[in-house]
Amino acid sequence: MTTETSTRSANGEVTYTPQDGRLLEVEDLHVEFHTPDGIARAINGVSFDLHEGESLAILGESGSGKSVTAQAIMGILDMPPAVIPHGYIRYCGHDLLTMPEEQRRKTRGPEVSMIFQDALSSLNPVFPVGWQIAEMFRIHRGMNKSDALEQAVRLMERVQIPAARDRVKAYPHQFSGGMRQRIMIAMAIALDPAVLIADEPTTALDVTVQAQIMSLLQELQQERQMGLILITHDLGVVADVADRIVVMYAGRLVEKADVHDLYRNPAHPYTRGLLESIPRLDQKGQTLAAIGGLPPNLMRIPPGCAFNPRCRMAQDVCRTELPPLREVAPGRLSACHFAEEVIDA
């Protein structure tokens, strides 16, 4: 892990090269929030990696820690209250967590970038959108004003904003939700990042617009061979986009699998329950089953398996022993004591 995979070019800039196609490795990541009422353990040992050109979906409900994971990778967690007591986030072999802030800042944009759920509040309302995209080039690439603006226009065209040249001087509120999300995407890919994190990119959008945005994201990813981390709670979107899926519950990975395997036969009762509990557009007369209860309070995650109070399979061992994330079938990991029974079901 410590092999130096970067070279320092003449001007002191670090260049990053992936090892065996591996862009990002997250290892045993923990994140806690220290609040006046106690410690909320948002992430409790999460490990996964991301390869070039791969789409990895992080699936989970609110409070599962999926967004916090993204924020930790981007280094945009507010610390305090957040604390990372343990863990590594390596980008091309470099640990982002121990990297000097100055160096890390330079990775945001050209190496790793992110799009958010709420495009309106992520764009600055007082500057024209073209100016905001152009700023990326001016800051990171040192371009002059007119070149940067020209690049901005080209990017806006790339994300299919109609009449981009005329609208480059328009302000964020003059765009519809879908168009704003396109602008966010344009800003995120402006500097050709190797890793793009999309945190619920379409949750605030209507379904027809969601389809447009997801297909744009997929197109861009294939065109640029980016590693895409898609964070979502929507099992439908995941099925359409992801190559691999990690399922999070109460700050832990409960399952990690190829998308086809996961939908065909989930290896964790939580995943299984989720799949049973969503109504499907293509089914008629469906009996909807529900997982009882609620996700746990992160300040007092139950001992043993965090899912045990809601799990219909739970046995004594589930209440005392934390099931490790283990390989239960080739290429499939599950954190359940009875994963074999689940997978065969």
């Binding site: 007092r300 001992p303 043993g304 219909r312 739970a314 046995q315 004594d316 209440r319 009875f338 029974e341």
Partner: protein, 310 residues
Amino acid sequence: MTEQSIVEAPPTVDPHDAGEVGEERSLASDAWRAMRRNPLFWVSAVMIAVFVVMAAFPGLFTRTDPTVPVLAEARSRPGDGTWFGRDIQGYDIYARCIYGARASILVGLFTSIGTVLLGGTVGVIAGYVGGWVDSLLSRIGDVFFAIPLLLGAIIFLVSLPDFFNNNYLLIVLKVVLALVVLGWPSLARLMRSSVIQVKPNDYVQAARALGASPGRIIRSHVLPNALAPMIVVATINLGAYIAAEATLSFLGIGLQYPAISWGIDISSAIVGLRTTPHMLFFPGMFLSLAVLAFIMLGDAVRDALDPKSR
């Protein structure tokens, strides 16, 4: 895997949890809980308690009559027989500081209550009814808001009939009236905007959908949720009104003899600013502490009611 095993499983109960069964915590009790943890609250509360006791029972603090001058000892320094010395007319400064609290607390309290009642009512009506009623009330408020406090108070106080100078309470009332007339619009604005914020909430709509009368909606849904900002500002204003009272008294148009006020004392101490600064210092200190106490309390209340502003 059977149901049986689930039911028989030992419940994973944190012993700490058990004690909290049935606990009913309202937002108000949450706020109180938060406030209790705030040292600012305790400091200000103790200070205010002292001032209030001072105002109610000045005899507890001093046996000296503040209206009896000892001319022979006029301008004596602190420690020369009295704690704070004597002023230019030979009054005991300590006693006058103690007795001066009454005027300040009364003016501050009554003015706050007055502005809350008047401003709050106007604000609720303007915010809830909306339309032309809102426009009319808001413009009226703007007219009063536009009058500079000192100028307005001078004109108001000077133009009041002499009837108001008859006794202590009426003199205090006169100042209160002036401050209320000029001070209500800021609270009305505040109340109006918080009512407008609360009104579109679904719980208000739900009450409408149930057929609740406007009175009921205002009483049980709008008011309880719109009060917090006004409570905070009214507390802070209480301090500001005490300062305003002192200012008016200093100028000679607020409280007047026979009333005792820190403002009057500061005014009369000006003559000895260089030679006998203690005459100015003690009433000035009492005034500052009183104002500070209420502002600190207001901050503590705000922190408790709105933890996000911290």
